[in-house]
Symmetry: C2
Subunit: 299 residues, 2 copies
Amino acid sequence: MPRIAYVNGRYVAHREAAVHVEDRGLQFADAVYEVCEVRGGRLIDEHRHMARLDRSLGELRIRPPMTSAALGVVLREVVRRNRVIEGIVYLQVTRGVAPRDHGFPAAAVRPGVIVTARAMPLAPRDARAKRGVSVITVADNRWQRVDIKTTGLLPNVLAKEKARAASAFEAWFVDEDGYVTEGTSTNAWIVTTDGAVVTAPTDRGILSGITRAVLLDVLRRRDLRLEERRFALAEARGAREAFLTSATTAVTPIVRIDGRAVADGRPGRVASELRQALREAAEVAPAWSGPRNPGRSDI
Amino acid sequence: MPRIAYVNGRYVAHREAAVHVEDRGLQFADAVYEVCEVRGGRLIDEHRHMARLDRSLGELRIRPPMTSAALGVVLREVVRRNRVIEGIVYLQVTRGVAPRDHGFPAAAVRPGVIVTARAMPLAPRDARAKRGVSVITVADNRWQRVDIKTTGLLPNVLAKEKARAASAFEAWFVDEDGYVTEGTSTNAWIVTTDGAVVTAPTDRGILSGITRAVLLDVLRRRDLRLEERRFALAEARGAREAFLTSATTAVTPIVRIDGRAVADGRPGRVASELRQALREAAEVAPAWSGPRNPGRSDI
């Protein structure tokens, strides 16, 4: 079955899915994105992702290319056409195509929209969470607006590659004061020796993760102490547990930081329980349903 | 005459010049670029641009897509096919196309190469320099590796747009200590009240501009005091002259900073002289010559 992508109003064969070389996403990283998990063929937490996309677009003054509802239809249609049951759908919105010039193009320029989907079986991800993962740490050298989910991801790319070279799964950014901000594509959490679950606040220096937000809701409903505050790398090293969250990793325990075991070096009980609780708490969208796609189809 | 672009080995109609949606330049800003001036149909300072490109690629460990000599042939061929006499040629190299994953793709993935050219008559640019331009200032919120000429330009885009909204030509980034680092696409200079020509050093926080480097050579050969050091915004406001440099602006006098006149609010004598001296000093490549293009032609 050929893969299908949605690009600027058309469903096209994935191998032919292309954007113009003067798309501002390519020339300026003038673009934002979302990655939504697909489980049982359904979008997870679609409304939260759409709300965050709206915020990102608003911060950059990129015109929303269509309503959230219409975008949702496109996302589901791409999932459906690719027969994705467990996997992800990727959505990118750019400021559109215009002759290269740093300032914004004319208001009439249409934002670009790209949607792709791919299978990513859950079982290996569950197995990885059972084993736990390693993280390394790198200096947080990113720009100051990482709260906007832009495609300006090169610092994240370089950090992730460094993690891979160290046989680690993720890299944690550490700011100049020694605080862990977040991972390259995940939020960072610890469970302190006295049992508090801690993650950095979103007021500056991190992206407001969707899975992070859902997990906060879960925590508020449970008998667990929650602290939204900065935590230093030193505190993480001495923590009882550490874990990371994202759409594709859900809650995944961290067992090593910079090569040193966290506690006894095995996935923590709290993280493992929260992984299960998160799965039950996610908002699940209707599967492959609703009005049919608003774009023109070439397939 | 239809415009022609070069994309990944082929000369194609500009309107059809496209890259795959999973090009890492589009999804991660995992790409670098150069903009080279064309004058009399010839590339200006080609070798310095190629050397900087090599450095950018090396810093990011992107494999050079071809030799600098071969790239130069492509640049000249694109200039020739578009009949550009006065204008620019734009070169972008990406890490290539691969399924989305932050870490580097397999070494076999071929880097992407995009070259476009366009006319940009000199007369209006000369007229603009005669009038002088305005700059505004914005907080420098960029990542710490702006010495690499990456396409992660969103902070520059936002700052340039802010300048435009204020009817200014450029925005200067000012760091948290109050020092002017550089403009969004230009280097920043002042002439002090005692006649020294000052620009920030390249050791951190700025891109090593090609026009900046050529001008430094010019200054070293002339009877002018040169100081490569940081300068504060306050010093710039009280300077005798201010100006900016880049491939497309050459030396362009600044007459207003944040709406306040620099000295008497007219282009300075030193800047105006340096604009002329720079023009004479640039290294000019052969026009539309050398071996023919190494890529396959579809035109």
